[in-house]
């Protein structure tokens, strides 16, 4: 294989490894096999997730916990490892009896306002790692300071660790049913779980009893203690209410089966949803959640896509903190219920929504009843306008809840005034100046005897200027009033008084006022819009730049750093990037926006722990989330499918939260980043695989060559010996045959020596031991190993300095000499002169092994130091050679830091020249 690029080290390393591998009978990398391995691993991961079984009931007291404990005992009797993670201390004696006999994981006790409260110890459960753990009250809210806000998130983590979970939940805890249940029972339940947590459970067992029976149980004191019974009966436990709840529970259980099977079907077919697309509008209104939930239910019922649209008006920046928070909560709720959040900018909400609906092919839109009221200035209500603009849209009007009606009214009225009205000192000074200037100019005009029209138009002009240049309408309105007053005072008859004779002036006054108002608000709008456009343009540019930068990068860490820096630009916050290596997070790399005052905060162990949690659990955590919400940053995983490549932390206040567009942006960028990282990872894996495949090939080739070159001399030896045994030969022939056997033996010894020299290689570096040696000794030693052939040649040694010392590994350099001299003997006819010359050149010793034989052709010269190259292309028996000799010489000399090359000898022949490090020795005389 001429011209092979692999060095001899790698080759032998491959051979060695391959030999070991063959012994262990491992597989050879095959792309299909690798792929199926990866797939298997993925499925294993999914399988490794624990199974969740929910014991579902329509009310307290139906026997969920009892049933759960009974099942647990059965499982335990089968021999599985079952523990209780948390069982609500029921005062129901029958239930508590069942707890005996099961191992309890001690609960965490927390002090809360003087009371000791008990919480499930999540870490203890994870450490204990049972096969099954019982966790009561799926919808429970954890105490402050717990890792997750809600118990269902704790359960999620337990499931991810591969532990099965049994849990209990009531129908009123489901998010989507909250309103319906509230309408039946009159109670709005605060502890809710997202429907997905319910639907994605592996098993849901409906624990059902007749309401009559439940009431009986209650009366008998089997549910609550006698004292509480009457109260419960009156408020909650009436037969009709219970029946209604039971029906909802039954239906929901049935729906669940439907939903999951349908989703599974669809996923397999890779079709997405059917034609239905349900849209709801997000707002900061307190009644918005009701609409969101209604939309979610509708989407489920129609099996359609659920979209929540938020229209960002120009007044968005001005809304107060409370409203902003409510908006964010509503957004999160929508997300939890499975909505896709979209943000659109615009001022005319109805118009924007209608347009969006038209473009996106929305089929149904859900609005609240309050939207049907007419606003202060608008002629038609929101709903009516929608109908007009998008006539094909189906509009569902949901009644707002009674309790929140009052709040709603207040809220609506407040929000009629879209723009916040405010004045700054700067504006006041400004309009004062403008007023002065306009008055002066007017005086000029008056002196120049221009008509009043010019004067009033001057004032109007200045009012309009103020409208454009000031912030807030109020200042220009003030200016308008003052201008008219000035005009009246200075320029209308009677002058210098506020009276007017001309009845037309009030009209002028009004017109001026309106001019001010309109120009100002228009200018305001324009200003805001241009600001927004600038912002958007900036963001787009940054996105584009990010894209460009990422494309060019190959290194995963660099990708992370670039993304972090871009985020700083986009979000104007501190960004922390954690790269990952070998399944663990590396040290954080912090990019600051502004000052680095928070550096010590970000580097705290607790922060790193949060980042680590995100990395391991592939889930968001930190500030503004429900998990570990007290952290200083909001941490997100950079992930592609199931693989996490790193963690990004965004420095943010828990109270602040991120804007909708920021969230979208982050998501988009991170997805792309992950894609790039994934690409890189795969590329490297591919490279490794390619290398492996390559080595396999070379190994096969090497083995083939070697076995050929070993077989030939062995054939000769055995053949000759055999002949000597069988036939009677004369002394002459016997001597000749023995000579040949000897020669073959010597040749094999040299081959073995060469191969053994190659074994002094580990991982591409040669294991050479440099020592100071006398060059003459080395040459003499080498000569003693040259084959008998030398007798037919003239070999001459010419050393410029016989005391020349060199720094080298004697064994290896001896091998170099042997190889070069043997080569000369092999490729030149007998009688050729072979000369070994040494001379010193600066700090190197140049050694020349030359012959005056046929020489080496120019075509061969570039290849002769390559592996397996022989002068003949084929592996010819007579020219016995592995082609390794010169390649080995090259490797050895290079490992010594020297150079080796071949050149023509004059008048004919070849010269092999190599360099060794010369060594000066400080001779110790005493």
């Amino acid at each position: 294989m001429p011209g092979s690029d692999i060095s001899i080290f790698e080759l032998f390393g491959i051979l060695k490894k391959g030999y070991e591998r063959d012994i262990m009978e491992e597989f050879r990398p095959n792309p299909n096999e690798l792929l199926s391995q990866i797939k298997e691993k993925e499925e294993e991961k999914k399988r490794k997730r624990g199974m969740l079984k929910i014991f579902f009931g329509y009310s307290a007291g139906v026997g969920k916990t009892y049933d759960m404990l009974k099942s647990a005992h059965e499982i335990k009797d089968e021999g599985k490892d079952v523990v209780c993670g948390y069982i609500e201390p029921h005062t129901r004696p029958a239930t508590m009896e069942l707890v005996n006999g099961l191992e309890m994981i001690p609960v965490k006790e927390k002090e809360y306002h003087g009371i000791t409260l008990k919480e499930m110890d999540l870490d203890a459960v994870l450490k204990r790692k049972p096969q099954l753990v019982l966790v009561d009250e799926y919808a429970h809210t954890n105490l402050e300071g717990s890792r997750h806000q809600k118990r269902y998130q704790d359960v999620e983590e337990i499931l991810n660790a591969g532990i099965d979970v049994y849990t209990t939940v009531n129908v009123q805890h489901l998010e989507s049913l909250c309103d319906i249940v509230a309408s039946i029972t009159g109670i709005v339940v605060k502890e809710r779980i997202p429907d997905s947590s319910f639907d994605h459970a592996d098993e849901v067992k409906l624990v059902d009893i007749e309401p009559k029976e439940l009431l009986q149980r209650l009366k008998d004191g089997k549910v609550y203690r006698k004292l509480q019974v009457k109260k419960a009966l009156d408020n909650f436990f009436t037969e009709e209410k219970l029946t209604a709840l039971r029906e909802i529970a039954l239906r929901r259980t049935a729906d669940r089966v439907n939903i999951t099977s349908e989703k599974a079907k669809r996923r397999n077919k890779s079709e997405y949803f059917t034609e239905e697309k349900i849209l709801i509008g997000l707002s900061s209104s307190p009644s918005n959640p009701k609409i969101i939930r209604a939309g979610a239910r509708m989407a489920m019922a129609f099996e359609g896509e659920f979209i929540a649209l938020f229209v960002e008006t120009s007044s968005y920046d001005n809304i107060n903190e409370k409203d902003k928070k409510r908006l964010k909560d509503n957004m999160r709720l929508a997300e939890k219920l499975g909505a896709k959040i979209e943000t659109v900018k615009g001022d005319d909400i109805a118009f924007v929504i209608a347009e969006y609906a038209k473009i996106s092919g929305i089929s149904k839109i859900v609005v609240g009843r309050s939207n049907t009221r007419r606003g202060f200035f608008s002629k038609a209500s929101f709903t009516e306008r929608l109908i007009v603009i998008a006539p094909n849209l189906e509009i569902y009007v949901i009644p707002d809840s009674n309790l929140e009606k009052i709040n709603q009214k207040v809220w609506n009225d407040k929000h009629q005034m879209k723009d916040k009205i405010w004045v700054t000192w700067k504006d006041l000074i400004f309009i004062a100046i403008l007023l002065a200037v306009s008055t002066i100019i007017s005086f000029l005009f008056y002196d120049m005897k221009f008509s009043e029209v010019n004067i009033i138009t001057t004032y109007i002009l200045f009012v309009m200027i103020s409208g454009i240049l000031t912030e807030g309408i109020l200042s220009s309105l003030i200016l308008a009033v003052l201008s008219v007053a000035c005009f009246n005072y200075f320029f209308t008859a009677p002058r210098f008084s506020f009276l007017t004779y001309n009845t037309g002036y009030p009209v002028t006054f009004v017109i001026t006022f309106f001019a001010a108002f309109f120009s100002s608000s228009l200018a305001q709008k324009l200003k805001k819009q241009s600001k927004e456009i600038a912002k958007v343009a900036y963001r787009s540019k940054v996105m584009f730049d990010t894209n460009q930068l990422l494309q060019a990068e190959k290194d995963i860490d660099r990708i992370g750093q670039i993304v972090a820096k871009q985020f700083v630009k986009i979000l104007n916050r501190d960004i922390i990037f954690y790269g990952a290596k070998d399944g663990k997070l590396k040290e954080p790399d912090i990019s600051f926006y502004g000052s680095d005052e928070k550096k010590s905060v970000y580097e705290k162990e607790s922060e790193k722990a949060v980042a680590n949690w995100v990395f391991l659990n592939n889930n968001r955590a930190g500030a503004t989330t429900d998990t570990l919400g007290s952290a200083a940053c909001y941490y997100l995983a950079i992930r592609s499918l199931e693989e996490v490549y790193g963690v990004i932390g965004i420095g943010i206040d828990a109270q602040e939260g991120l804007e909708a567009y920021e969230n979208n942006l982050i998501f988009a960028v991170l997805t792309e980043t992950a894609a790039y990282m994934e690409k890189e990872t795969f590329r490297m894996r591919e490279q490794k695989t390619a290398e492996q495949v390559n080595s396999e090939k070379l190994r096969a080739n090497l083995l083939r060559s070697i076995s050929h070159d070993l077989r030939t001399p062995l054939t000769s030896i055995c053949g000759n010996a055999d002949m000597m045994l069988q036939t009677q030969l004369d002394e002459e022939t016997k001597k000749k045959i023995c000579g040949e056997i000897y020669d073959d033996g010597m040749w094999l010894i040299n081959l073995v020596e060469n191969l053994l020299s190659v074994t002094r290689i580990e991982d591409k570096t040669m294991n050479i031991r440099l020592q100071i040696e006398l060059l003459e000794d080395i040459i003499t030693e080498a000569m003693s190993h040259i084959s008998r052939r030398r007798e037919n040649y003239h070999i001459v040694i010419e050393m410029e300095d016989e005391m020349q010392m060199v720094l080298c590994d004697s064994r290896l350099i001896i091998q170099v000499f042997i190889n070069l001299i043997e080569n000369a003997l092999k490729y030149t006819p007998p009688g050729t002169d072979i000369k070994i010359k040494t001379k010193k050149q600066k700090e190197w010793v140049v050694v020349e092994v030359s012959d005056n034989g046929v020489g080496i052709s120019d075509e061969s010269k570039p290849y002769i130091f390559d592996m397996f190259y022989t002068a003949n292309e084929k592996i010819v028996d007579s020219k016995r050679s592995l082609g390794m000799g010169l390649a080995l010489c090259k490797s050895i000399i290079h490992a010594h830091g020297g150079k080796i090359r071949v050149k023509d000898n004059m008048p004919k022949g070849a010269v092999f020249e190599f360099t060794l490090q010369s060594q000066e020795v400080k001779i110790r005389e005493t």
Partner: protein, 234 residues
Amino acid sequence: MKHDFILIVEDDTAIRNLICMALEIEKYEYHAAYNGSQALIEATSQNPDIILLDLGLPDIDGIEIIKKVRGWSKVPIIVISARSEDKDKIDALDAGADDYITKPFSTTELLARIRSTYRRIKYLKSTLQQEVSEFTNGKLKIDYLLQTAFVENQCIHLTPIEYKILCLLAQNIGRVLTHAYMTKEIWGSALESDVASLRVHVATLRKKIDAENRSNPYITTHVGIGYCMQKLDE
């Protein structure tokens, strides 16, 4: 018991047979041992002239055997080693072995070694009776009283170090001395720089002594191991 025999310690049958045959041809008497424990028994009970010891024995480490034997006897030990690493040879020599031969070896080489060892034994025996005031080896003569060396009765100018080296080699005639050993003997330490100096000194020494007889020198170089002074035939 004075037996003129050689103890062969070699576990590989083929090689053992080869050696035995070679010795037989030269009319040497020999005993063979197959492993270390057998070798020790033979060595203690039979008292051989020379021990040919293979380093790769199955039961006891060759170095161990050398150390044990050296505990009571100065019998010449020639170790047989595989060719690749120098380290085992150096260890063997430092443990007390005298010479080594590498596999694969030719019988000629082996017999030459044995002959040379016998010469040494004879020499040592003869000089035991005399006062050691001078040393003779072929045409080389060292006068310890005058502290001078002569080759063919010609006085050789040697530096003090060269003289020391020569004497050291002479006193250990026939034994291969490692670089480390020689450096320690002469300078008291075995620094890297001293080892380098040693080579230079030996090289100059050889130029002075072995100038004429390159093919049959007094001082032989064992690359990577050390040096040895051969006892030449009279």
